[in-house]
């Protein structure tokens, strides 16, 4: 049976480097050339200094759990087969957040501040999406 397509927005030139980066296994974030403020989700203007000038930098992909939910009801048919799935709101080291699915762990293992890192999942030639995995304490490089 043909699988149902995920809901995708029409291409947005302001965010093209973000989607291109995902396909290359990188989480690209916007950094203001004028004042250095990192912003996400991608948008044209720096709200701090109102500069349009931006450079795209790859995230280090390390972060911590800010919050989470476990989805038990798919409001879109594309996600029926994934139920239940856990979405984690992640504080990235760069100071912005992402909302991504948790892999290789259950929600009972989550707590605010737990370390995660971002991984990349190829959906098709055109689409790669971010997810996250828990960083176990014994692998934690900082401790």
């Amino acid at each position: 049976m043909e699988s149902i397509e995920r809901p995708l927005a029409p291409p947005n030139p302001d965010a093209a480097p973000y989607w291109d980066g995902l396909r290359e296994g990188r989480l690209m974030l916007q950094s203001c050339v004028s004042c250095g403020t990192v912003r996400h989700y991608p948008r044209p203007l720096c709200a701090e200094c109102h500069s349009f000038e931006v450079e795209w930098l790859p995230s280090c992909c390390m972060g911590r759990v800010h919050s989470w939910t476990v989805i038990h009801h798919a409001f879109h048919p594309a996600f029926e087969d994934e139920l239940p799935y856990c979405l984690v709101t992640v504080d990235l080291a760069e100071g912005v957040r992402v909302n991504v699915p948790l892999r290789d762990a259950g929600p009972h293992e989550l707590g605010i501040g737990h370390r995660v890192h971002i991984v990349f999942e190829r959906e098709s030639a055109a689409l790669t999406l971010p997810a996250c995995v828990l960083v176990l304490r014994n692998e934690d490089p900082v401790v």
């Binding site: 995920r6 809901p7 995708l8 927005a9 947005n12 965010a15 996400h40 989700y41 948008r43 800010h66 919050s67 989470w68 939910t69 476990v70 989805i71 038990h72 009801h73 798919a74 409001f75 879109h76 594309a78 996600f79 994934e82 239940p84 799935y85 979405l87 709101t89 912005v96 957040r97 992402v98 909302n99 991504v100 699915p101 929600p107 707590g111 605010i112 689409l127 999406l129 971010p130 997810a131």
Partner: protein
């Protein structure tokens, strides 16, 4: 110039609430509008301002054409999702205070159950373009899915529990049964709530509002002219609108546990010159149980983090510290985008709330909440 006591709610009207109205959204709008206009003791031709609901299913032209409004001087929309209705009260009061018009009709109607459900429409709406682009592809798009991390964060930080949410759902259901015009008419227990299926953890089925058909409408008039109208005067003493930072993407909001309501509340209470302790009855936008709890904090009825403790022990019930959602709210009466909350507060202050009447209610508060975090607050007084 302040909007203090410049506007009054002079008429209220509702259709029946159901899951299958069998009528068009326009027809429902007109039924509730005629009821509100008649309730005010006005004729349709007296209406010189309109604020249709901001989803553009019904527009000013429809109201002019069908109601025969021959001298419409003001039309606007306040597209703040569930915060729209109270925002419209502010908008109407401002237009009236500026002398633009005298009687503003504000109707809301929807076939939210029978005509295309509301849950997954988010990524079609321009204010949620960001969510549609960056979060819907990983499976976060419906309000339940996007609000759940706010509730989880509150639970982890402050010890709030699902049983606290149950308290809100159960009390609201009790009020719906007293109201008698509600879609949900059978009692709900804490156990029913706790055993209901998970939608987006921590939200269970009974943490989520209904999707309903029906309509509700109000007429906002100048407080001066309201003296000569049919009903006891219900005056707008304070009103405010607040937008959180990162208004579309909750994920990027610095404090997940605070809504635009906190900003709106400062404005409304300041304008009215009253404090939360003065409020006799509250109608608080309840798209989800947690959103009620969070607003109670943002409104100043308790400190941030104390919402769970506040709602325990029947505080929101009749005879409690703050009788809340005395009509059954969006959770148990109907999802009329909060216009049913405005209607109910007016009825409470007129002493027309029937079995759910808060005895001696003179000062009340109503909120709207929507579009991922916008908050609106109005304080009405009997005068």
């Amino acid at each position: 110039m302040s909007l203090y006591a410049r506007g009054a709610i002079t008429g209220v009207g509702e259709t029946e609430y159901s899951r299958a109205s069998g009528r068009s959204v326009l027809r429902l709008t007109l039924e509730a509008s005629l009821a509100a206009i008649a309730d005010a003791g006005l004729a349709p031709g007296d209406i010189d301002g309109v604020i249709p609901y901001g989803n553009f299913q019904v527009v000013a032209e429809d109201l002019i054409t069908n109601l025969g409004l021959s001298d419409l001087r003001f039309s606007a929309v306040t597209p703040l999702g569930g915060a729209s209705c109270v925002a419209a009260v502010q908008c109407a009061a401002a237009a009236i205070a500026a002398g633009v018009c005298n009687h503003v009709l504000v109707p809301v109607a929807r076939n939210g159950a029978s005509g295309g459900r509301i849950g997954m429409r988010v990524n079609e709406m321009p204010q949620f373009r960001v969510v549609g682009e960056f979060e819907a592809p990983v499976g976060a798009a419906a309000p339940a899915q996007l609000y759940a991390p706010m509730a989880r964060r509150h639970m982890e930080l402050y010890g709030t529990t699902s049983r606290d949410f149950a308290e809100i759902a159960v009390t609201t259901r009790r009020h719906a049964i007293l109201n008698g015009r509600a879609i949900m008419s059978t009692p709900l227990s804490v156990e029913d709530h706790q055993s209901s299926r998970l939608i987006a953890d921590p939200f269970r089925l009974y943490d989520c509002s209904l999707e309903s058909d029906g309509a509700a409408a109000i007429v906002v008039s100048s407080a001066e002219r309201a003296r000569d109208l049919r009903q006891p005067r219900v005056v707008v003493l304070g009103v405010g609108e607040g937008h959180p930072e990162s208004p579309s993407a909750i994920t990027q909001r610095r404090d997940l546990t605070r809504l635009g309501t906190a900003v709106a509340a400062r404005c409304a209470f300041g304008m009215a010159g009253v404090t939360p302790e003065d409020i006799d009855v509250a109608e608080i936008y309840d798209c989800f149980t947690y959103i009620v709890l969070c607003q109670l904090e943002d409104l100043g009825f308790c400190e941030k983090g104390e919402g769970g403790a506040f709602v325990r022990d029947g505080a929101l019930g009749l005879g409690g510290r703050l009788p809340t959602n005395t009509h059954g709210g969006l959770l148990s009466q109907a999802h009329m985008v909060g216009m049913n909350h405005v209607v109910e507060l007016v009825r409470q202050l007129r002493g027309e709330a029937g079995a759910a009447q808060v005895v001696g209610a003179e000062l009340g508060l109503v909120t709207g909440y929507g579009d991922m975090g916008d908050g609106t607050v109005a304080i009405f007084g009997r005068a």
